[in-house]
Symmetry: C2
Subunit: 349 residues, 2 copies
Amino acid sequence: MKRKITLKQIARELDVSISTVSKALRNSPEISADTKQKVQAFAKLYNYRPNNIALSLKNRKTNTIGIIIPEIVHHFFSKVIRGVELVANKRGYNVIIGLSNESFSKEVINMEMLANGSIDGFILSISKETLQLQDYHHFNETMSQGMPIVMFDRVVSDINCDKVIVNDFGGAKSAVEKLITNGCKSIALITTKDYVSVGKLRTQGYMDALNDAGFELESELILKLDDKLDYEVHLDALENEIEHLFKSNKSVDGVFAVNELYALSAMKVARKLGLEIPKDIQVIGFTDGVLSKHSTPSLTTVSQHAQVMGEKAADLLINRLETEHNENEDETYQTVVIETDLIERKSTK
Amino acid sequence: MKRKITLKQIARELDVSISTVSKALRNSPEISADTKQKVQAFAKLYNYRPNNIALSLKNRKTNTIGIIIPEIVHHFFSKVIRGVELVANKRGYNVIIGLSNESFSKEVINMEMLANGSIDGFILSISKETLQLQDYHHFNETMSQGMPIVMFDRVVSDINCDKVIVNDFGGAKSAVEKLITNGCKSIALITTKDYVSVGKLRTQGYMDALNDAGFELESELILKLDDKLDYEVHLDALENEIEHLFKSNKSVDGVFAVNELYALSAMKVARKLGLEIPKDIQVIGFTDGVLSKHSTPSLTTVSQHAQVMGEKAADLLINRLETEHNENEDETYQTVVIETDLIERKSTK
């Protein structure tokens, strides 16, 4: 793919400021006819498409961070936003939020809208549809125009930017190790299909823990649910799937679920089948949700420290915004891995 | 308070278009020197403060709605946003969200930021601090500059705009009537201090139901909590308050709580004191939360239909944005009252 020429590059080539290029392209009366002609000819020659991001970007610093999240009715994302707000406000930045609703086109539209002069940079988590399509052009274009992006939780290795992720693999592994230590002999996994990276990593953590302990991997103990179905609405469908899992595998005495709703539903189904928790079956979830501590029994979970993720993402973005970038150096990016904690409650021995 | 002159009024006085006034004030080369002089002199004479809202507003329609909510980690507000998104997207609008974090100054800053050319109108719920200060100038100024506001849930009668509210009074009253019908003789209320209008109305609904049934109002049965304390963090403090209420009033056999967390904590404390739910004590909450249906026992609640509120608010705002306003007519505003439903679960007989 041919790289698009940027304002920055035009400015460098013609030895004028970025602001001059921007103004010349908008035909500003502030710029001499001679310079305008030169800039416009150069831009045309290199197929420069005037981009609102770049045009507005250099005009003003907004001191505002744009967040794009896939879903609003989700405690994890709410907590991340709280973390971003905390650090942003402390460091003199505002925050505005756009939603992709797990849709690729909404993600693109919302990024364009916010990038259009409203914000200095993005903190975002990729929508499921984008991950499925593997189309990341909007992220790369935004960054090539000089607007930094920090990604959190749902990230992909194809994109070069600062990232904040949870140790999904390690968190899942330690949860399953806990079940093994507690005496479980037959441990089921309730997870999502693999296209969301975090689901995949948690599944790998489960398998690695079993492998290390010398357990045989039984594929019938792994329930992969299609999380495009909103199970909060279709709770019955979720419970039926889990009931089928338990009935087909009567020996199951441990469950690791990759989210809170799956874990709570597993407990509900287990109780319905006459199993006592944690005596007959032990359950661990993966979440920072509110349900875990209020459920009966309260749920042992892997805590992701969502608020810390948000704080860290905000620091990474603001540091980048406030550091003068040297044109001749390649950018170097960081990936910050937030370690998980196992919060033990009453659903495990 | 002297009313600020608006772009609209300057345009009318000088018999030019709003766009001309806006451009003249920004010293645009498109406007003749003569007109510029006239507009600028007039604006100076009437102390016109150029306001970014008005300047940018007439330049373009953004087809974007700005939402300002007091708190992000809150299922009710998330559901309202989902409703706004649903209708907005159907009608060709985007949505961006700003948070006040219950702070007056953050509310003002976020409104200014979004009004600055990013959006066409606001949907918002007032912060607690603003309600306490009773300072509503930022709402009135925004509207006087031609940017419409629709308020939901937390509204005040001092402000003339479209509103969407829950029937908090009626919802609370019917909940308490349910407890009375179910045989409760001593009904406690767990509520917030009165400065948030919805808390006040729910308290009035409680009192009205008791009064209608010929019950005597006992002030020691009303627990008013300071909701500036984050009880999700300070759960112990909340439970201690409720334990004190129950221990000082051993006859209590019914509880109406104005939110989900208070209701769940009441159930937890009751169980701890050896009371059976619903045999010894019946509990009803007020919420659209996720905890109610997953708690043990599941909680009977007053459903606010948060998503419907969001849908209705979006329709009101977009209708107003898409209706040509006649200069000579006064605006007429609507208040839409969403009726509640009592969702019966296992915490009542």
